[in-house]
Subunit: 219 residues, 2 copies
Amino acid sequence: MTPRPYTHGERQRTVDAGRDRILQAALELLQIDNIAAFSLDAVARRAGMTRMTVYNQFGSKAGLLEELFDLIVERGAFRDMPTVFTQSDAMAALEGFVAILGRFYTENRPVLTRMRTVAGTDPDFDEAMRQRHERRRHAIGALLERLRKQHKPVIAAAELLNTVDVLLGFNTFDALAGPARTPSDVVPLVQQMLRGVLGVEDKRKRSPRKTGRKPRRTR
Amino acid sequence: MTPRPYTHGERQRTVDAGRDRILQAALELLQIDNIAAFSLDAVARRAGMTRMTVYNQFGSKAGLLEELFDLIVERGAFRDMPTVFTQSDAMAALEGFVAILGRFYTENRPVLTRMRTVAGTDPDFDEAMRQRHERRRHAIGALLERLRKQHKPVIAAAELLNTVDVLLGFNTFDALAGPARTPSDVVPLVQQMLRGVLGVEDKRKRSPRKTGRKPRRTR
DNA sequence: TGATCAGTTATACTCCATGTATAACGGCTT
DNA sequence: AAGCCGTTATACATGGAGTATAACTGATCA
């Protein structure tokens, strides 16, 4: 009995350093090698550890990838979230959010691509990812709430959250960017699509283009 | 020398029947088992053949899946394509195309899901799929051409084809539908998003929507 | 200082899947 | 009757995930 937690001190620090080295190695492997070659063995070797240590620390490949996801979320583009969210203009906040997502997807494109395919074969990991995506969904929900009544969306309210969530998902950015561009390059496009769905006019160059029909109709 | 092709007759027919049985078995495995359990061994056993025969006929797992894709394209919802395309109203044709895609995705959802994940790990298969998707892209291009000048799309012309192509891809339908609905259920939604992108007004019930303001004062 | 504990390592498995090689088999074909 | 060709049986190689176990090692604590 009397479990000695070793919760402080040198010991704990070296263990944590080991975890970090493993996560870092996994990240690098995914960023650099991109293609296959991502096995727990390769990760462990690159981290200067044994495969067994990876299992000790993360339990499984899925476990490692879950923590890896949390890591990139913490230290990536999302740091700017508070700034963007506290803008008074709701639409500006939403578009800023799109820009943040674009950067996040760009920074971690190989990682996210791999996670997407792993999720396709590992139900546990798929579920874990789904839960993590709930945070994005909530953020979108909050922003849409602020927009309510300001605009007349093209999509029915019941579907709006779902639709925007899909529109802002990694898949959309990744597919739009294709092999030649980055998700960040595609941010203006997504913003346009978003405005289309939300029924918001483009504030900038309100493209004079023929001026359609007399807007002063007042009805 | 003198290669005797055996190109006609009973022999060829039994071989073809074998191929068909294998393809059919693969299809069933993907539709039914959905989850893992899709190995060449399982396919061969279900077809009453040996794994070696699968390799003889298709060369690899990727080869089998490629032919499987061609099969579902041939005998699925795309049969209605000519009817839809020959409509005089270009927008109606495009929306009909969306409906066809919805049915195709619904009928083959498990298959396409699996193919998507295989493409994530097998570069050859990924390339093969990419080429096959060119056909959809061409079809969309043709339809957009007919729409040109009739509408003022929200998206720049240079990006329009790409954008619509992404919007009509399997990923979009699949994500919009989620676990509770089918891609077909989601067709009206995609059509709405499409109209939003194309800058087309909804022809149908120009949504009186609660009549928000000014309900004729009847009160 | 010395015992102890926890995490790491070495080693050896199991299981499963893809893919390759080879020789025997058997039936349609000429 | 002879031959061709796809199928089958069998064996093997490769590689990854995951489990089990005992030895090791260094920080911790009494």
